[in-house]
């Protein structure tokens, strides 16, 4: 990418903000529809997530007297910007688009840490006690899942070094390099370390997206959406859009790192749609068949079995499996 126009297009339209938000809203409709079907309900119409956001954009913004207004209003936008850049990079690699994207796996992981951080700061800035509880739970969750998530995704990069055929791919941490390597040596999920890494990454994804059983930070019935409790109108809409963008970004990232051998080919792009949909439906089914666990149980789960599985996956990748 060289031209200024191309950059703007990449960041704001495709595969950046507009594409990711639109796709994310469609996927969030899929989430609600599948949830409804699991419960033998009919569920909302496809336009529902769009109507929700349009409505929120037209509502009054209430800034609580106890808040720090500048931060309270700025953090949603920081979250959205970071999430849509992460989505742009993930989709660029997952689709195998021509041109070099400006970031690698580490950049994407950093960017994906921003939305929870913004929620923490926004919840704290609202001055609401339940917002503070939500912020602290967000923090605990982030501590829990970031390490295994990073480890699981590094498996994809690690295999480039340890599995034969990796010499062809330069820059082991770049998403394109990983895709090029997988085109030669087969998908990461074709090897035991890749399967384990995908399972770990799926669990971390569940927590990153705030889906049951790891929705402690936003628990509706318990702490009234936690960090988002005081948000109304457009800032709330931006947070909702951020969640939608993450719902579009995370499955694409998992696919781009672990399951991307066919990137860039027409068949690969059709398969990509199926893979992303499969990941989303899996997440939704787990969400609908599990209860919310306590926050300490969630932390113990991520630091115990999940981190151990991630370490094992790295070990297996090291041995070239």
């Amino acid at each position: 990418m060289d031209g200024f126009g191309e950059w703007i297009w990449f960041l704001l339209v495709f595969p950046g903000a507009a594409f990711a938000a639109g796709l994310g809203l469609v996927l969030s409709w899929a989430d609600r529809k599948v949830s409804a079907m699991v419960q033998w309900r009919r569920g909302p119409p496809p336009s529902q997530p769009f109507l929700d956001v349009a409505k929120l954009l037209g509502k009054e913004v209430v800034v609580p007297a106890t808040s720090w207004p500048a931060g309270f209003l700025a953090f949603p936008f920081a979250a959205f910007a970071a999430a849509s850049l992460a989505a742009a990079l993930s989709w660029h690699a997952a689709l195998g688009l021509p041109g070099r994207a400006p970031g690698d796996l580490v950049v994407v992981l950093y960017l994906l840490a921003v939305p929870p951080l913004a929620a923490i700061l926004g919840g704290a800035a609202s001055g609401n006690p339940l917002g503070a509880v939500g912020a602290s739970r967000h923090m605990v969750l982030v501590l829990g899942y970031e390490l295994p998530l990073a480890a699981a995704l590094l498996v994809g990069a690690f295999q480039v070094r340890t599995v034969g055929g990796g010499e062809a791919a330069a820059g082991t941490l770049s998403l394109e390099g990983i895709a090029r390597f997988q085109a030669l040596a087969g998908d990461a999920v074709g090897r035991p370390s890749g399967i384990l890494a995908l399972l770990v990454a799926l669990l971390c994804c569940q927590a990153k997206l705030g889906l049951v059983p790891f929705d402690q930070a936003e628990a509706d019935t318990e702490i009234a959406e936690g960090a988002f409790i005081e948000y109304s109108g457009p800032p709330l809409a931006i947070f909702r859009l951020t969640q939608a963008v993450l719902l579009a970004a995370m499955p694409a990232l998992l696919v781009a790192v672990l399951w991307n051998g066919s990137a860039g080919t027409p068949g690969g792009r059709a398969a990509l749609a199926g893979k992303v949909l499969l990941v989303v439906v899996l997440l939704v089914l787990v969400k609908n068949t599990n209860p919310r666990v306590r926050i300490d149980q969630a932390l113990r789960f991520f630091w115990g079995p999940v981190t151990a599985a991630a370490a094992l996956a790295l070990l297996l990748a090291r041995m070239g499996w």
Binding site: A36, G43, P45, L51, D52, K55, K59, E60, T221
Partner: protein
Amino acid sequence: MAETAAPFLPRALRGSPWVFHVGTSGCNNCDIEIADCLTPRFDVERFGVRLVGSPRHADVLLVSGPVSLACRRPLQETWLDMPSPRAALLVGACACSMGGYRDAYGVAGPADRVLREVEPGARIAYVPGCPPKPETIIAGLVRLLEAP
């Protein structure tokens, strides 16, 4: 069923009414019927209705029960916490007109009077019944949203 005082509700809001429920000392029967609306049989999510946990996210305030003296301020504060445009749906005879609690010593008045103390032009719809059936509650909500 619906009174007109406020301007039109925007189109997007009619397709996505988020509801916050306040029980103001009712007998709990109305609350059970409200929960019924969310069950697979009635599934109000079809119309975009969501029960939200914070008044800041809500468009419609569901009130059930006569407003006791202790609930008067909290109800008014909850109403003022909601971002405009906002509307109220009073569910059950108690919320509409005090029902059996009329002239009792511990009540502050029907919910519409209590809400209009803080916002005289509040947009309010009434769903009578003791308790009203879920069908009636849904019909009331639809009237509230579609009234000019």
